[in-house]
């Protein structure tokens, strides 16, 4: 080893020891006869002292060492005169006897500090330097710990981690697949898995009983800030279970993670139907760190000749606690906020429930104090609260109100990143109508699309609706939501060949297509498939939630940018004609360029 200790471990009790440390020069202070260097590694920072009295040459060499040089020093641990209580090694320093430059460094393009001066783009390009910063390293240490604790928990419950293949078959019923041309099978392609869904179901058919995997998945989507073309799931499946068993097991996992990683005792995770989530929060992943539920104001606002409300399909209110002192200016600004094209509300109505108990609205022309009392009762406002009302088409209004609710949560400080509120959203619809989702192949538009995936079991009590009203069929499907973030979800699966065939038919597959793409699974169902179900958690997102960040990128060692590029290695890139030819493909771009 090029060291006897790390830069994070020496203490007062080590005084007088001769030690060797290796690390990076964090900073250097030249005090004339003395030079001090802060030496950094993953484990901490230790101060080095070079004393001219001891060795003039050593001190002058130390002066020439710059930031991020890699050096190895040998010296004696001594007690520091001015101790630094903020640093675990701050009571000692190393009086250096000898040192060696292991590697020089150019001046980094940004500072390796907690508050760096580097912008996003620059830090992505020099990711290996960004990784030296405490914050980034701590995120990845957290991720490591989360993975270890996930495995510990599941291993104790007899889950087996089984690796499923990465080179599989293209089944573009979900998002787009990434594909891989085969050299040995001319004209054919593998696909990268969007999830190990069918394989984990086959493991259940194979009697594996309890499976998990922390696994990379791939989706060729147009990227948003919190999406990556490759992402990691905690993927799980269980046999001989009902929905409640899965919810219990994985609520246990989440509570175990909070306990071991965050030292937080989580209460039990409540359940909420999809219907109620939409009714009370306008959102299938409500942030339940705060209440501020939707209240249907249709009844309490009707019949007062206020056309905006009377003509609206929906009139919805929320009560923002303690916000009655919002100024006119603040309310005007909030009105502009809801009118932005992204939300598209036509306006915002409000009523102040003043501290003195009086009620005052922006539509006093139509509603007198008596009317407003009904408003107050309907949403249980108290003196000091602010009632906000949106009206318009049902879906659009709910969506806008959901955003407004979250915004008010932010403004009122109700979305504390150190507080966690989890819930299970259950009873999702089985299907949704695809009227041209850009993340799906164009040929799939104008069809029913599986809300979760085509292997999800409808609720038995809704079977009869499959033929008459597919959109009303509820699924045995569930999502775990924490702080308004969808951490993951799953379902009880179909394990009956006939029902699975019916499902494919509903999704617009011909019998031949279904057999060609999923025949292996339907055949497997002929040989004693057990009842089974499972879920998958987005591991990147779970880590970012635990780390208090909105961006999953901060928790991925080498993320890609919004164009799916790795700007550090400059990928994707062109490949040689020799490679293309061996793979039996031609690039249409090259051909066009060559013409």
């Amino acid at each position: 080893m090029l060291r006897t200790h790390t830069c994070g471990e020496l203490r007062l009790s080590d005084v007088n020891k001769t030690v060797t440390l290796s690390g990076w020069v964090q900073k250097s202070r030249d005090l004339g006869g003395m030079t001090f260097i802060d030496l950094r590694d993953r484990y901490g920072i230790t101060q080095l002292a070079f004393n001219e009295d001891g060795d003039k040459d050593l001190n002058s060499r130390a002066r020439n060492v710059s930031r991020e040089y890699v050096i190895q020093v040998t010296g004696t641990v001594i007690e520091r005169e001015s101790k630094n209580k903020n640093n675990p090694t701050g009571e000692i320093e190393i009086l250096v006897k000898d040192f060696k430059i292991l590697n020089e460094s150019q001046t980094p393009p940004f500072t390796i500090e907690d508050n760096t001066d580097g912008g996003d783009e620059l830090r992505m390009k020099y990711r290996y330097l960004d990784l030296r910063r405490n914050e980034v390293r701590k995120n990845l240490e957290l991720r490591h710990r989360m993975a270890i604790e996930t495995r510990n928990y599941l291993d104790k419950l007899n889950f087996l981690e089984v690796e499923t293949p990465v080179l599989i078959k293209s089944t573009p019923e979900g998002a787009r697949d990434f594909v891989v041309p085969s050299r040995m099978n001319e004209g054919q392609f593998y696909a990268l898995p969007q999830s190990p869904q069918t394989f984990k179901q086959l493991l259940m058919v194979g009697g594996f009983d309890r499976y998990y995997q922390i696994v990379k998945c791939f989706r060729d989507e147009d990227l948003r800030a919190d999406r990556q073309p490759e992402f990691t799931q905690i993927d799980c499946e269980m046999s001989f279970v009902e929905q409640q068993d899965i919810l219990d097991t994985f609520e246990g996992l989440v509570r175990h993670l909070f306990k071991t990683v965050k030292k937080i005792e989580m209460p039990g995770v409540p359940h909420m139907t999809y219907a109620n989530a939409m009714k009370y929060y306008g959102n299938d992943k409500p942030d339940t760190r705060f209440e501020m539920k939707f209240v249907d104001f249709k009844a309490v606002t009707g019949g007062k000749n206020f056309k905006v409300f009377d003509d609206a399909e929906a009139v919805i209110a929320i009560c923002a606690e303690g916000a009655s002192d919002y100024t006119r200016k603040q309310l005007d600004e909030l009105t502009e906020w809801v009118k932005r094209p992204q939300l598209g509300a036509t306006g915002l109505i409000y009523a102040r429930h003043n501290a003195d108990g009086t009620l005052k609205s922006s539509v006093d022309k139509f509603y007198n104090e008596e009317d407003l009392k009904k408003w107050s009762e309907a949403c249980a406002s108290k003196p000091g609260d602010l009632i906000l009302v949106l009206a318009g088409p049902e879906e659009k209004t709910r969506k806008a109100m959901s955003e407004l609710r979250l915004e008010m949560g932010n403004r009122l400080g109700l979305r504390d990143k150190t507080k966690f509120s989890a819930l299970w959203v259950i009873d999702f619809p089985l299907l949704e109508w695809n009227d041209g989702d850009p993340n799906l192949l164009a040929s799939l538009a104008g069809r029913w699309h599986a809300k979760h995936h085509p292997f999800t079991s409808p609720k038995p009590e809704d079977y009869s609706l499959l033929k008459t009203d597919p959109g009303a069929v509820r699924a045995n499907a569930y999502d775990l939501v924490i702080n308004g973030v969808e951490i993951g979800g799953g379902s009880i699966r179909i394990h009956d060949r006939q029902l699975q065939a019916q499902m494919f038919e509903l999704l617009g597959f011909t019998k031949e297509e279904a057999q060609k793409q999923f025949g292996f699974l339907m055949n497997a169902f002929e040989f004693g498939a057990p009842p089974h179900g499972g879920l998958a958690f987005g591991f990147d997102r779970l880590c970012s939630l635990f780390g208090g960040s909105d961006s999953i990128r901060d928790f991925i060692a080498f993320p890609k940018n919004n164009s799916g590029r790795d700007v550090m290695i400059d990928s994707p890139s062109e490949i040689s004609d020799e490679q293309l030819k061996e793979l039996h493909i031609a690039s249409l771009i090259n051909q066009t360029a060559a013409k």
Copy 2:
């Protein structure tokens, strides 16, 4: 849960309990008034008893249940009259009160037994049924345990598991890459990693100090029995270390695995130079469960007018202990064996060291008893041993003798799969000449090729040879070999930009090519790269070694066949024109077909 207990957990102490079990019908015996069913799940087998006296209808329904049906039963645990001591649940049975068929099953295409009647091809196609067999499941349980223990060991030593990207950049200096066309970056391709090599080095540059990952890697090679296009590595890297530190750390891992998984205390792992491995075993991965080292017979056989030996570049002997009673017929057969085209020896000379101490050779015409005594001394034969000699061109003869040695090891029962002998082979050559390796692109033939990879550090004492005699340069590279199987290997890496540039030049890269493909790594070396090194173990192979199998396929849940096909899901397969078009590529095969 659709059960209160698994099929492996009930014991005499559970008698009189009412329990519910779910599982598969392993077999059923109809004894008229009684039906017995063996119910199987992952955890074991429990006997069910259906008694006509109790419930006639129940018994008659039980009779109609066939092999591999999935059933759920409720009943009382009772003590068995005829106990089965070979089954942990063999002292009890369940007197069934009620049961339900959860799913029916067609008759499986092969029996779900330890000794199945299914051939390889059939079992691959119905892998989900093969997975139900104890043997296959136990292999994957072993794999799970190996992964858990690997992580436990490395976590305790402060290694961080970091996920590196799967969609990377094509750098076809090693084997061929699998590539992935990018939809969003027209005309460009990602590649799947052959290993996370450059990323783990960047993590070291990023100060991560100790990294590991159990990770899928991909190589587009022509497949052999023990190769798969996707395979799993235990991939590791450490900073501020020298070669010995890495050998110690990972010898520790292997010993930990043997101890925890196999309950075997491994002795320390000896080191052997590559030169000695070739000299004594003709092989860089010698099976050291037995000695039978090569002995150079050139000196002791020369000058006796036996032209076969005198004209040969190499004359090499081994001494097969206790094989002097090999019959003439056995020796003739062995001679034919070495003359097969795969080995291509021209013949086999032998000398018996008889039990009475006399020596008798197949070339007595040229060598008298006195001469043979020299043979005996040279290879330390004892009465009862058999000396086998091959002669011919150096490399070919060593290779043939290596095979003969392994064959004799097999025939003499010296290669016991429950015994383990490990060694580190060190000081590998840095380079080898590529005269047309079919696993490399044709354009790379007629060049030096990195024996390990282009990032491996030459031994400092051999730097001077880089320009004068590249083939003689030794690397700081090492392989772990157990029982003649290469489990993995690694090296101390180059961390100096100049040396790395020189290495690329030696490998025939122009400056521009090197910069285009590996510029990011060489740039990283400008910013304080620490000395570092690491290794990777083939996880599939390590598992198969622990499981006592020669085939890695047995330890992969869903393996591919020798054409890289998954015959179960029928992949790779054709993709739609819509997909091809979106990816900006054309299939040359489709085009040809269309003409």
